[in-house]
């Protein structure tokens, strides 16, 4: 799993280097990245302890707030009409809500999971 992860990271690195943040879409490259990331995700998630499925979901919630990247790009656009900027700003607000609440509540929950006293020794 780790080996696969490193190899894939190398491929991802190659893909990421090819295009600037907002160039024309390299569709096939993007599709490759999508497929590889999905496989990594499936393998990593399968190993997640069932104990932690609720924190897992709130963590991935926070991770999917990566939409904030798109929201910033839209909101910061220079020649955009006002309503487009407004849409971007509302999207930033929504994503930030998820980032803040998602990470905080995940950590709050994880802090509660404790081993039986003495069992660790």
């Amino acid at each position: 799993m780790i080996d696969l992860g490193t190899t894939t990271l190398a491929i991802l690195a190659q893909g990421a280097g090819e295009s600037a943040s907002h160039g024309p879409l390299d569709f096939m490259g993007a599709l490759f990245v999508f497929m590889l990331a999905t496989f990594i995700g499936l393998m990593a998630i399968q190993k997640v302890s069932r104990l932690l499925h609720t924190p897992l979901m709130s963590l991935t919630n926070a991770i999917s707030a990566i939409a904030v990247v798109g929201a910033i790009i839209v909101a910061a656009g220079k020649d955009a009409p006002v309503y487009v900027t407004a849409l971007g700003l509302v999207a930033i607000f929504c994503s930030t809500t998820n980032i803040v609440s998602g990470f905080l509540i995940t950590d709050r929950m994880l802090k509660m999971f404790k081993k039986r006293e003495g069992a660790a020794k």
Binding site: L9, P24, L51
Partner: protein, 473 residues
């Protein structure tokens, strides 16, 4: 190295950190590192994006800052909700995630349309845009409705809502949205394109509501997982629109997580995706319920406490009822009292117990019960024949033996916790009504089963107190 490459490099590190974040979740020992790495990844992503838009000449920074602050101001209290409310908080944040994706998609479409630049609205981009809109907005309304159902808001129906031709209407709406999408892909710059686009938005919003209306409480863990996957996939679609690989990778990680959780939930209920989404659980079993009236045996808390005190192994099976009654801290008291007497206490956790995946584990962890004693269904079932007592706290369908034997039961084939194999069964139940799914539970009529009627918190508290007092003699 160009500035654009630097941005990509930040994105790359962020992607790696997101992957590690999920890997560290495999063990409660390392899980908090996972949160830290997720936060670091997100910080890099935001920093990289801000740098990127600055290079290409961004603006509105004060407004962006204001949006960040407002989001943090709303997000912080949302992280402080009681843990029993975590399912609805999760649904609500799926709604926010879907809305964000939908709004970004809408913003991009109108921007490109306004520029009248055909190369920006090529077929692949428009396909991705339509998917982003569809997934984003249906996740938005669907998750809002799910959150409302979980919060038990009065005017939102809890029970599944069904009406004639439901699936035909839903599929019709979906087909209409797809047809509009195809038309848009073929003519992205047509005069009617904005209208078609807004119609797709409206159809997606409606579709989200209609999709969740017929789904009841027992299916919520599955539905939340599916919505989780949709929120991730809408971020992926956004990544295709913006040619942004960080969005694609992070969205795919979220999507695969939602997918795996949905599969686990479906397996734990012996149902398929389509059956959950289009099956309208909870309506079908009226026919089965009207059989001959059987009678329960109930028992007093005192004698139940005595039996438990003399047991070697007590298996506690918690369910949604424990969450509703907020009984987890009383459960901890009972656990302590039994442990003090040398009784082994284990918790049997069914994957779909509660209203979201892992719900019971979090509540019991909150009550500081060591996670070594929280045992998964498959593992605990081997121990149950040796158990002296199985104590059911607000669980119902997950211990219903009808799932094993009764082919007419709607839950037939669902894997269950074998509570009926324990020597004695005590079941704490609020009332004599059947559970959320409305299915009669044969377990309650067995000779070895005794009912303890009452609020779970009160009954468990009584049990613990009885044990404590008996110990003082």
């Amino acid at each position: 190295m160009t500035a654009a490459n630097l941005v990509q490099l930040l994105y790359l590190v962020a992607t790696g950190l997101f992957i590690m974040s999920l890997r560290w979740m495999s063990d409660p020992e390392t899980a908090r590192k996972g949160v830290f790495s997720g936060v670091a990844a997100m910080a890099l992503a935001v920093a990289g994006t801000l740098a990127g838009v600055t290079i290409t000449g961004g603006t509105h920074y004060w407004w962006i800052l204001a949006a960040f602050i407002a989001g943090a101001a709303v997000g912080y209290p949302l992280a402080q909700v009681p843990l029993t409310a975590v399912p609805q908080r999760t649904a609500l944040s799926h709604a926010f995630g879907g809305l964000a994706a939908g709004l970004v998609g809408a913003g991009k479409f109108f921007l490109y349309y306004g520029q009248r630049n055909e190369s920006n609205l090529g077929p692949t981009i428009v396909i991705a845009l339509v998917l982003e809109i569809l997934l984003g907005f249906l996740t938005f309304t669907g998750s809002l409705l799910a959150a409302g159902k979980l919060q038990e808001i009065k005017w939102i129906p809890q029970r599944p809502v069904t009406y004639p031709l439901q699936n035909v209407i839903n599929l019709g709406l979906f087909a209409a949205a797809l047809a509009l999408g195809v038309a848009l892909v073929l003519n992205p710059l047509a005069g009617w394109a904005p209208v078609a686009f807004m119609l797709i938005v409206a159809l997606s919003l409606a579709f989200g509501v209609l999709l969740i209306l017929p789904i009841g409480g027992a299916d919520m863990p599955t539905v939340i997982s599916i919505l989780n996957a949709y929120a991730g996939l809408s971020a992926v679609a956004m990544g295709f629109v913006l040619n942004n690989k960080l969005l694609i990778t992070a969205g795919a990680l979220d999507g695969s997580s939602g997918l795996i959780l949905s599969i686990i939930m479906c397996k734990a209920m012996n149902r398929s995706f389509t059956n959950v989404l289009f099956g309208a659980f909870g309506q079908t079993q009226q026919a089965a319920a009207g059989g001959e009236a059987k009678s329960y045996k109930s028992d007093t808390v005192e004698s139940a406490a005595q039996v438990m005190a003399q047991a070697d192994l007590v298996v506690i099976v918690p369910g949604y009822g424990m969450a509703v009654a907020q009984a987890q801290h009383r459960v901890r008291e009972l656990y302590d009292q039994l442990k003090k007497r040398g009784v082994t206490v284990k918790f049997a956790i069914h994957p779909v117990a509660g209203r979201m995946p892992g719900h019971m584990n979090v509540l019991l962890a909150e009550a500081e019960i060591p996670y070594d004693d929280l045992v998964e269904m498959d593992e605990i079932n081997g121990d149950l024949p040796q158990a002296d007592v199985a104590l059911i706290i607000g669980a119902n369908d997950v211990v219903n033996p009808a799932a094993r034997a009764d082919k007419t039961s709607p839950i037939y084939g669902m894997p269950i916790i074998d509570a009926d194999k324990a020597r004695t069964v005590y079941a704490i139940k609020r009332s004599k009504n059947p559970g959320f799914a409305g299915i009669e539970n044969e377990l309650y009529y067995l000779d070895k089963t005794f009912m303890l009627f009452g609020d779970a918190k009160a009954v468990v508290g009584e049990l613990a107190r009885n044990l404590a007092e008996a110990g003082n003699h």
